[in-house]
């Protein structure tokens, strides 16, 4: 093989002293990876929560019929249900039964049962298909047959929550980017320190005819091993933390928090982060070392 293209073999790896875990770099990478995995997991979990929210609640209308006269209220409710069932974009129309209404009002009115003469609005839940027309189409159609109807769009009252989730996801993404930049800076510093430490060996290798690429590969390999060790350590630590948090959230029984779980694909993405870290470390180390070697004769 042409010498300039030759990779150093197993024996040549000893050209740099053994003891790859010497120095702080693997431990710094482990901390960075720990924080990166947590930030990425938060971003992915919030993404799952946002999708779940949008799928479960965002595509839903609630129709309230506030007519005080029970007969007219019943007539309007029946007309509204019929009208909605005939409209395109409607997946399901469901009128809440009196028992469900009682359950909903229990926190305010107590469990003693509703007074017969108390005017309780009729409620109709409407699930929409994706691509359904806007709320105004439904509102005007329902008002035509039920003048006392109030039509609420779930997405409207969910908007602030959705915005908060979106902001938190962006924050998580920004944290991941910052961690990546900090990790790259760590690799640059480690590569420069390694070059300074082994300057004499590098000069000797150069004077014997080693190419920059041959020398860079030695450092790349060493830095990749350090990054792999640190990355796996950080991933394991973050994985344990995420599992513990998952257990606590599960114990809360909250539908909203529970929806922020991590599907298998998200776990796979998190598991791939150390490998991405190794690749990043190798590329950054190679660039840094080749640049430094380029300044030598």
């Amino acid at each position: 093989m042409k010498a300039g293209n030759r990779r150093f073999g197993a024996a040549d790896r000893r050209l740099l002293p053994e003891g790859r875990l010497a120095g702080p770099m693997p431990w710094v990478i482990a901390i960075m990876m720990f924080l990166t995995v947590l930030a990425a997991a938060a971003g992915l979990g919030l993404g799952t929560a946002a999708s779940s929210l949008s799928a479960n609640v965002g595509q839903r209308l609630t129709v309230q019929l506030v007519e005080a006269n029970p007969d007219r209220r019943e007539a309007e409710a029946a007309a509204a249900v019929r009208k909605l069932q005939g409209m395109s974009g409607v997946a399901e129309v469901r009128r809440l039964a009196p028992e469900e209404m009682q359950k909903l009002l229990e926190p305010w009115l107590g469990s003693g049962g509703l007074e017969a003469d108390l005017p309780i609005p009729a409620l109709i839940d409407v699930d929409l298909n994706p691509g359904a027309p806007g709320i105004e189409t439904f509102r005007s159609a329902i008002l035509a047959v039920a003048p006392s109807a109030r039509v609420d769009d779930s997405a409207a009252w969910l908007a602030p929550l959705a915005k908060l989730i979106s902001a938190l996801r962006m924050l998580a993404g920004a944290l991941v980017v910052l961690m990546i930049l900090a990790s790259a800076a760590t690799v640059v510093l480690a590569a420069k320190a390694a070059l300074d430490t082994h300057r004499n060996t590098i000069e000797v290798l150069h004077l014997m005819g080693s190419t920059d690429v041959q020398v860079a590969r030695l450092f790349q390999r060493r830095i990749a091993l350090d990054a792999l060790f640190g990355g796996l350590l950080g991933l394991i630590g973050a994985g344990i933390v995420l599992l513990l948090i998952g257990q606590r959230v599960g114990a809360l029984g909250s539908e909203l928090l529970g929806s922020a779980g991590l599907p298998a694909l998200s776990w796979a993405l998190l598991a791939a982060l150390p490998l991405a870290g190794v690749l990043l470390a190798m590329v950054v180390a190679r660039f840094t070392i080749l640049r430094a070697l380029g300044r030598m004769l």
Partner: protein
């Protein structure tokens, strides 16, 4: 190689470190292929600087240097490794890789040149035996005496059978008997076609190679105003 059999040619070469005075001035000389040369001169005369130019650790501040028939002053640095592999160097301070054994230090030029592991064990062991260190092949430089380190450095310089061998005070730390053996090694290599340039203060050593030619350097300049080399060497008076 140049057509005229010249392996090294210096033409008005000057070398200045930083903004100081020139360490080497107006050097013009040539070494022919297969020659044996001694470079002498007092300490501080610029011998090591001249050798650094020869083994491509330094480019000159001015002038022209042709090595193996090519201008190495303007040569892109990407081509330099190929030229360096044709040169063996014995550094004055040895420059052994401290964490490698004597064996691995000697094997270094072969590994850099891409020789397979199975093909390098025999020559490396033979070379270590030749310099009297066969029994110390696994020793690290820190555990070797100065003379032993120097022999490892010499073995490393000649293991790849370089076309040009440059040695800076190669016998400074060895006893007279070993100095004789090492000089014999250089002589044998030279007879096989390697051009040898040895920087030394040791006039006794110079007198041992009858066919050797001599360059004498003082205050960065070759003493012979024509730049021509003495042949045969004139001994101490030269």
């Amino acid at each position: 190689m140049s057509a005229a059999g010249t392996i090294v040619q210096f033409d008005n070469v000057g070398l200045r470190y930083g903004t100081g005075a020139e360490t080497l001035s107006d050097l013009s000389f040539s070494l022919r292929e297969g020659g044996f040369y001694f470079l002498t001169g007092p300490s501080g005369a610029g011998k090591s600087s001249l050798l650094r130019l020869l083994y491509l650790a330094q480019r000159p501040s001015r002038g022209l240097i042709r090595l193996f028939g090519e201008d190495i002053v303007t040569m892109p640095r990407g081509r330099l490794p190929g030229f360096r592999r044709r040169i063996g160097v014995v550094f004055q301070e040895f420059r052994l890789v401290p964490h490698l054994s004597a064996y691995d230090n000697v094997a270094l030029p072969l590994r850099v040149a891409g020789v397979e592991e199975k093909d390098l064990e025999t020559p490396v062991r033979e070379m270590l035996a030749w310099v009297g260190l066969g029994h110390r092949s696994s020793a690290r430089p820190a555990t070797l005496s100065g003379g032993e380190q120097q022999r490892v450095a010499i073995a490393r310089a000649v293991i790849a059978r370089p076309e040009l061998l440059v040695a800076d005070e190669p016998t400074g730390n060895v006893d007279p008997e070993m100095a004789k053996r090492l000089l014999h090694l250089f002589d044998s290599l030279n007879k096989l076609g390697t051009t040898v340039l040895v920087a030394t203060h040791d006039l006794h050593l110079i007198s041992r190679v009858a066919r050797a030619e001599m360059l004498r350097l003082d205050r960065g300049q070759l003493l012979d105003p024509t730049g021509a080399l003495r042949n045969p060497p004139r001994g101490p008076s030269a």
